[in-house]
Amino acid sequence: MTGLLAAAFEAPYLDYAALAPEMVLTGVLLAVLVVDLFVDEGRKAVVAQLAGVGLLASLLPIVFLAVDGNDRSMFSGAYVVDDFALVLKALFLVSGYVVLLMSADHIEEGDYWKGEYTFLLLSSLLGMVVMCSSRDLLTIFVALELLSIPAYMLAGWRKRDLRSNEAALKYYLLGVLSSAVMLYGMSLVFGATGTTVLEDIARELGDNTSEPLVKLGIFFIVVGFAFKVSAVPFHFWAPDTYEGAPTPVTAFLSVASKAAGFVALLQLVFVGFFGQDNVWQPLFWVLAALTMTVGNLVALRQTNVVRLLAYSSVAQAGYMLVPFAVGGSGDAAARTAQTAAIVYLLIYAAMNLGAFAVVIAVARKTRSGEVSSYGGLFTYAPGLTVLMTVFLFSLAGIPPFGGWFAKLYIFKSAVDAGTGWSVALAVITGVNSVIALFYYASVAREMWMRPVPDEDVTPVRVPPALGAALAITALAVVAIGIYPQAFARLGDLAELAVR
């Protein structure tokens, strides 16, 4: 103790340039909090606009850092700003921006607390941005809580709606439980290695440990994030929460929050536990197969669009888990797997956000989330119908919409690994994508081929912000589908350095 006191305090190296995005974002969210206090109830839109500008502003340093191209590492490797981090930070910020656009009118018209809503959204985003750079168990934990706790509150944002309450409760309880399990795992891993920095953990663990305690630790950690990405059997919260939460929040949870889980998994698996593929590969194999199959099967029976999309996003998580299940056989496989997962994340974000944006737009008229309320949408809202069709079939993986490329990458990673198990998983994925088509197409069928249920064919008014969200996502989906190279480049860039 005395030694510690006596030693001169050496401030850790802080690279402010590297932290610029986080700092800008923090500044913006504080500004939002303050401005909200002084703005009249009628002019709360300013707050959202400020937040939007702030999000775009925090993208700027990311661009500069990307151009600069150097990896920056701080706190003895606990916080790293590399291409992986930058690409995914950009993803979170853009998704956050789109969610903000989607929320603008939804929250305003629903008589909610707009300023606080924006603040919480930004906080959660900050957690995600931090997550991208976290290469340390403790940092990951903090980032996870930072992104989760505001999300719990956002899920229950419609305070007087019992469903919203219920959504928040379920999300909160299960979230906390799974993070407790994850913490328990972290404590075990820390105990086995004596360090929390992922790189050091990897070094300490060596190749393929046989220590049951370590295996359990890794397993518990993976479980914590499996919850976050709503992998079966840790997905139970997802459909209920998605259905009950305000739709923009659902979009946010199903895209950003899920992506954060995958980001954490990528870092943990490919940096911290890369040598331990005997533990995580079979685990992810089971999770992936279960997740996509269960998600798709249950989705078949859904009659509510949001719930259907919830199960769809469970199934999509299953596809995204495939690279994890096949990425352990070597450096090359790991690289392909990471690229596949990241590319899938990018494309998934665009198409899923788009689908939710349409749901929000349609619900403005129909006030319903039932699939049957989409009947004959084509006759009175052809534009929305076409967009929804694009997003749905993109999710189903039909060219020329972005989803096909994402799925191709998943298949590629599986075939590249070349083991019997990986090919089997690829076939399971293939069969699943056929099952999935059935429910995506059932929504399309409702829109195109069924009559309007209540004969009400007044056109749907799409507010400009929502329109912008639709335009961004649709453009992204189609552009990726036709010229995937640009996005695939990002995926390649974002590979984590694997040892």
Partner: protein, 717 residues
């Protein structure tokens, strides 16, 4: 003209197109085009015939000396379009002393020195496929010239006849268009230098036959007859297709008929292959030429207009099968070893057909059906002739038969034109006074058919019998003689019922107009004189038509045998006499069918046409269309579509959700059936989603325990 023989089929094609598009607007509704085109074609065919006869005979062929030095038609040497080369016929070098082919060589020797005319071949490249260049073109030799002459002549007469007979028909124009197209098809076939082109003509005729049999398609019976004709011949065509395929490869990837014949006779190709090819082709012959057991369509085909029956179903199309055998004689010769003298399928089929069809002709009351069965029987003669090695006789009979059978059909047409019926027993009788020209010509035709000397039928039939007797086929000699007697008898019956006795019909029958009678007279004249073209001693027909294939195969030639001639004509006269006795003098066992059980049974068998129609229509066609097709479709809908449906059902049973899901008739396919299973899976899984948060937590921890436990246990061990 011989080089440009393609013009002859082209004329009716042109006529077809013109009639089809402009016929209705023309003053005569199109028949002027048809008649003119066919007349021109006939003139050109005559020119061909004259040129052929005048063509120097400078090709020497020795029996069994088939040697192929040059492989003609190899793609390398042929250049692009319109290679107007006159192909040197294979074996033209001559002089190679090949091995004797059979024991008949001595007899054949008498022709050895006599050279034949070189066929005129003109080819253009049709298409290249794989390593083969297929050339379309005309191959004009004596056989082709003869056929062109016969076809254009009969066609012309039938066209003329039809202008009156079909007058006022609601589809008059279409009728002439179809006739033109038919003539074109037949001419394409007879001039074809390759099997593919032959097939084109062959099927084109089938199509026209279909169209013309079904000309009055408002009646269900007529369209049924048309369909039956097409199906039956098409069934035979399976053999033709396969045969062409086999011969294509057997002859070294060529469709060229001369090459195929040469290869078949050359001995390099394995006998089995040639046998297979010949057997397959024979199926085609059986279908097209209405041989037993596929002869049943021809009597039904009488549903078409009578001139059509005369042209297509007596004189020309039905002899296409005979022509095929004659044309590809090398294949049949060596495949069935016709020179060998054993019983071979060709002769057998022909022989059976001769007898069974002749017997059937006795029980018909419809004049056209009598003639139809007679045609079947006579076709049997031709096939039998070819089968016993009497090539020239077969071809010659083809020609003479075309004349007198065409005559008979047109005569029947003339009669029906007058009495508006074909039923001899109900609506005819005693017409001899009302229709003198028709009567006289019909009798001439009947006598020719019966083989009464010196009419055409006598000469050709005599040659067949001669061939059968001298080539070592005594069985077929007997059949032929028996057939001759039967033929004479049923024709006598036919003539009696039609022209003698009391008129039994309605109204007052009149002799037909000149457009009808002139063709009758022309044909009658030909029926009288045509036989002299090949009288013993002259045998010009043989010299003109016999080609290299026939000679190199070693087909035997026999000198006239008075014994056979005498016997044959005697039997014919006997038949006539019997008929005369039975009908005119009312002698013989009348009402036998009522009195004798055996005779009655025989009659019924004949009436039922040996039950073949029932077999085909009810069992084969009905079976395929009915139970088999329905079964296959049932299989399709229930089994294939239901495979995974079934899986889904079992799955549901296990999950105790059978009842809920029955209404969910989502899908019936493999994928969709899986869908049902999937939906049920979804249903079960949904049950876990209870909505209770603590239950979720339980599942969470449960999964942790199960997965974690499994992981640690199984990866540690």
């Amino acid at each position: 003209m011989l080089e440009n023989a393609w013009v002859i089929p082209a004329l009716p094609v042109l006529s077809f197109v013109l009639i089809l598009f402009f016929g209705k607007r023309l003053p005569k509704h199109g028949h002027e085009i048809g008649v003119a085109a066919v007349a021109l074609a006939f003139v050109l065919a005559c020119v061909c015939a004259v040129q052929w006869v005048q063509r120097p005979a400078n090709l020497e062929v020795k029996p069994g000396s088939e040697e192929h030095a040059a492989a003609p038609g190899s793609p390398a040497q042929a250049n692009a379009v319109a290679a107007l080369e006159e192909k040197a016929p294979p074996g033209s070098e001559g002089g190679h002393e090949g091995e004797g082919k059979g024991e008949k060589e001595g007899e054949a020797g008498e022709h050895e020195a006599e050279p034949i005319r070189k066929p005129v071949v003109k080819e253009v490249t049709w298409f290249d496929n794989g390593q083969t260049r297929v050339k379309a073109g005309t191959h004009v030799d004596g056989l082709a010239v003869t056929m062109m002459f016969v076809v254009t002549l009969i066609s012309l007469l039938v066209h003329v006849f039809s202008t009156s007979y079909m007058h006022g028909d609601r589809r008059y124009t279409h009728y002439f268009a179809a006739l033109s197209l038919f003539t074109a098809g037949m001419l394409v076939m007879v001039t074809a230098n390759n099997t593919l082109q032959l097939l084109v003509g062959w099927e084109l005729m089938g199509l026209c036959s279909f169209m013309l049999i079904g000309h009055w398609w408002e009646e269900r019976n007529n369209s049924n007859a048309a369909l039956k004709a097409f199906f039956t011949t098409r069934t035979g065509d399976v053999g033709l297709l396969i045969g062409i395929a086999i011969l294509f490869f057997a002859a070294g990837q060529t469709f060229d008929i001369a090459d195929i014949n040469a290869a078949a006779l050359g001995g390099e190709v394995s006998h089995g292959l040639v046998l297979a090819g010949a057997a397959a082709l024979l199926c085609g012959v059986i279908g097209k030429s209405a041989q037993f057991p596929l002869h049943t369509w021809l009597p039904d085909a009488m549903a078409g207009p009578t001139p059509v029956s005369a042209l297509i179903h007596a004189a020309t199309m039905v002899v296409a099968g005979v022509y095929l055998v004659a044309r590809l004689y090398g294949v049949f010769w060596s495949g069935f070893d016709i020179g060998g003298g054993g019983i071979n399928p060709v002769a057998l089929v022909g022989g059976i057909t001769v007898l069974i069809a002749a017997a059937l002709a006795f029980v018909q009351t419809d004049i056209k059906k009598v003639l139809a069965y007679s045609t079947v029987s006579q076709l049997g003669y031709m096939v039998m002739a070819l089968g016993v090695g009497a090539w020239t006789a077969g071809v010659f009979h083809l020609v003479t038969h075309a004349f007198f059978k065409g005559l008979l059909f047109l005569g029947a047409g003339s009669v029906s034109h007058a009495v508006h019926s074909f039923d001899m027993k109900k609506d005819m009788g005693g017409l001899r006074e009302h229709m003198p020209i028709t009567f006289k010509t019909f009798v001439i035709g009947s006598l020719a058919l019966a083989g009464v000397p010196p009419l055409a039928g006598f000469w050709s039939k005599d040659e067949i019998l001669l061939g059968a007797s001298s080539n070592g086929y005594p069985v077929f000699l007997v059949i032929g003689l028996l057939g001759a007697a039967l033929t004479a008898a049923y024709m006598t019956r036919c003539v009696y019922l039609t022209f003698f006795g009391e008129y039994r019909g309605h109204g007052q029958p009149h002799e037909s107009p000149p457009a009808i009678t002139v063709p009758l007279v022309v044909l009658a004249a030909l029926s009288v004189v045509a036989g002299f073209v090949n009288v013993p001693g002259g045998e010009w027909f043989a010299k003109w038509t016999e080609n290299e294939t026939v000679l190199s195969a070693g087909v035997a030639h026999h000198s006239f045998s008075p014994f056979v001639a005498l016997f044959g004509s005697a039997l014919g006269l006997l038949g006539i006499a019997a008929g005369y006795a039975y009908y005119w003098r009312n002698l013989g066992p009348h009402r036998l069918t009522q009195r004798s059980g055996a005779a009655g049974t025989g009659y019924r068998i004949l009436e039922n046409k040996y039950g073949l129609d029932r077999l085909y229509t009810d069992w084969v066609v009905g079976g395929i269309k009915g139970p088999i097709a329905r079964g296959a479709y049932w299989f399709n809908q229930r089994v294939i579509d239901g495979v995974v449906n079934g899986v889904g059902i079992i799955a549901r049973g296990l999950a105790r959700f059978v009842y809920d899901t029955v209404d969910q008739k989502v899908v019936d396919g493999v994928v969709n059936g899986a869908g049902i299973g999937a939906e049920d899976g979804g249903r079960v899984l949904r049950l876990m989603q209870t909505g209770r948060v603590q239950q979720y937590a339980l599942f969470l921890f449960g999964a942790v325990v199960v997965l974690g436990g499994t992981l640690v246990l199984f990866t540690t061990g």
